[in-house]
Symmetry: none
Subunit: 400 residues, 2 copies
């Protein structure tokens, strides 16, 4: 159901919902013919699947490979085609930058231009962070009238630009031709109200160009994904529950904050995250807990490391299950098959364990093939929250 | 497909469609680990399932527990989120009140107020119908300028108020605070055109208050779900067929009438309904026949009675099948698991038997788990009609 209907039907209750997101959970067979989940020894997940409802979630749509933003927003109940998060905002979330609702954020790339000013390398040879960070420091000296300017290194050639002030508009185009051989472009206003913003951005780029022109290898930059913190309805308000997020990585904390969850302070390991979960168990109704290692391994194309990551999370399943949430879900934001070495469009295994009114299933284990014939079928990830709310006794009847 | 496309594609034909709705069909396992359908001896349904296409229908949306209105409208092809029926209208349908399209209907509750006029019991101790009916008689003496007023007992503390006249608006709020300790509220107009209607309602409530003030235990009332007969496109017009409804219970007859079906006079038992069906077999193309007992048993939380109800309907399956409809469907408007003792959000077993072009299936029997892996999958109930129309040879090609 959509968020409007969810808001209408939701009622407060005493129940608890626990959502474990294994980042990049889904995989594909390697030459052995078996996927990461099929090769991993995950007896706890396999056993839990046999007492649960299973299926496959489609993060955004058939064939759509999602980024982390849409992948998570869908699991939080937000239609990822309707609620979009600009790249600039995601970069800000990713480095824990405290973005305000009126801030304008852009993703910056250091690049290399020739003597004509045409781009020769869009990433300046993927210049390392230790070299790009001092460039960010230099750029921080640029002043603009009426707004504060922040320039923060992200990673390698990537940085974050934030303008803070009144009346900034995100109705501006990228200052990035996105191809070699072209000159960096000016940002253009898409509406009359955005003219002053476009001018500020282009002033900043012009000043930056002067500061960088004699640097090497990065002697220029481009800006894209110029965006504001999107207005998101608050999940706790919609669902009438207290929601907490536990994630070691900043971007996931940021996404949770965007939808109104309380972000709990935690440590760097998943064991730390579990300790945080247990410490706050009585204070919240909904918990999102995030496990990153599986995605990182998939991105690196490291099949055995992804298997190991899945085996690691399996050792924590009993700890989570023993908390006896009314609804315990194991989900992924998207697939990151090691054989793809990146995110993919494949539907993602999903396990739904309800304490009450659980009809049971005939799923044999927790992997892509077993979940494909689970009773939940292949369904949109944005429905996960509604299902949880229903089984947690948090929805009233629709219609008389 | 939606009703607009269905209207565009439908063509007349000689074929017949039979839709059996087993009210509250879906269930859940009890401590035995098996659901009502799994425990029931329903060899005719099980056998038919093996020669049919099976699946699970989602009445409204994932996690949504539907009332009878949306549950049936979906099976009739209407998007239950788009076409809603107000509570006042449903109450009118439920007692066979002949509601006109300009009538305004409200669901009334007799309640108890203290000397300050604050509600102390929202249902006046669930006052019995034999006590509330005379109160309705007394309230029928209230006159309002320019409109006719009807007050009809429904059941226990519930009654129906209908205003009949020109220019009545349903853009008014409930006259019901829905909580103990508050005073009954005035109805408020949501648009300027609705002001006279709100005034009429509040006048009526004020007069009712005087009439009831010395009664016991019900000395006041509240009104909610103030609604008009919603404008519904006509199913026979959309589908170019003659449609008949056979239902012993008034509410289901009323819902069928709302969408333009002819309601056939029938008796109190399902055997009566079948006799009516047979008697009119040649006169219609589409039949909706309703079986109530399964829902009633589920609502009562009586697992064995629900099993018995399912075994009863099974004894009629051959009778229905032998009519040789081109399409014979066995569906439920929603699940009413005995372990829930009420409606639930669980998808509902669905059996689709087509005489022609039936691709076959591997479904083993008619129950929740078997249907979950049927070839129709888990799909929205509002698509049932389109499927039937196609197999009945009543839809032309889309696009060249």
């Amino acid at each position: 159901m959509n968020l409007e209907l969810l808001r209408e039907l939701s009622v407060p209750a005493e129940s608890k919902i626990l959502l474990l997101v294994i980042d990049g959970l889904g995989g594909l067979p390697n030459e052995s013919g078996r996927s990461e989940l099929e090769q991993a020894h995950i007896q706890r997940l396999d056993r839990l699947a046999q007492e649960s409802l299973c299926g496959l979630t489609v993060p955004v749509g058939v064939g759509v490979t999602p980024g982390s933003g849409p992948g998570h927003l869908a699991l939080f109940g937000y239609d990822p085609e309707k609620y979009t998060v600009g790249r600039g905002v995601l970069e800000a979330l990713g480095i824990d930058f405290d973005l305000q609702s009126t801030d304008l954020a852009a993703r910056g790339n250091f690049c290399t231009v020739d003597t004509d000013g045409k781009i020769t390398d869009r990433r300046a040879g993927r210049i390392e962070t230790k070299h790009s960070a001092p460039l960010c420091d230099r750029l921080s000296s640029i002043k603009l009238p009426g707004v504060q300017v922040f320039v923060e290194p992200v990673k390698d050639h990537r940085f974050l630009l934030v303008l803070r002030g009144e009346g900034l508009s995100d109705q501006v185009t990228d200052a990035d031709p996105q191809r070699v051989g072209a000159k960096p472009m000016l940002s253009r206003a898409l509406s009359p109200e955005a003219e002053p913003t476009a001018k500020l951005i282009n002033d900043w780029v012009a000043q930056a160009q002067k500061l960088l022109r004699n640097e090497h290898p990065a002697n220029m930059l481009t800006l894209r994904g110029i965006a504001k913190h999107p207005p998101m309805p608050s999940l706790p308000e919609i669902c009438k529950f207290r929601a907490a997020a536990i994630a070691a990585y900043p971007m996931y904390r940021g996404l949770a904050k965007l939808v109104g969850m309380d972000v709990l302070k935690t440590g760097a390991t998943f064991a730390d995250e579990i300790a945080t979960l247990k410490a706050h168990w009585d204070s919240y109704d909904f918990f999102f807990i995030h496990f990153k290692r599986a995605d990182a391994a998939g991105e690196d194309g490291d099949f055995q490391e992804k298997v190991a990551a899945l085996e690691e999370i399996d050792t924590h399943i009993d700890d989570l299950h023993e908390l006896q949430a009314d609804v315990f879900m194991v989900a992924g934001d998207h697939s990151t098959p090691a054989v793809v070495a990146g995110h993919s469009w494949h539907p993602v295994p999903f396990l739904f364990h309800a304490k009450n009114f659980n009809p049971g299933d005939t799923t044999q284990g927790f992997n892509e093939k077993a979940c494909a014939v689970g009773s939940l079928g292949t369904f949109p990830a944005k429905e996960v929250l509604s299902l949880a709310m229903a089984y947690a006794g948090r929805l009233t009847k629709y219609g008389a």
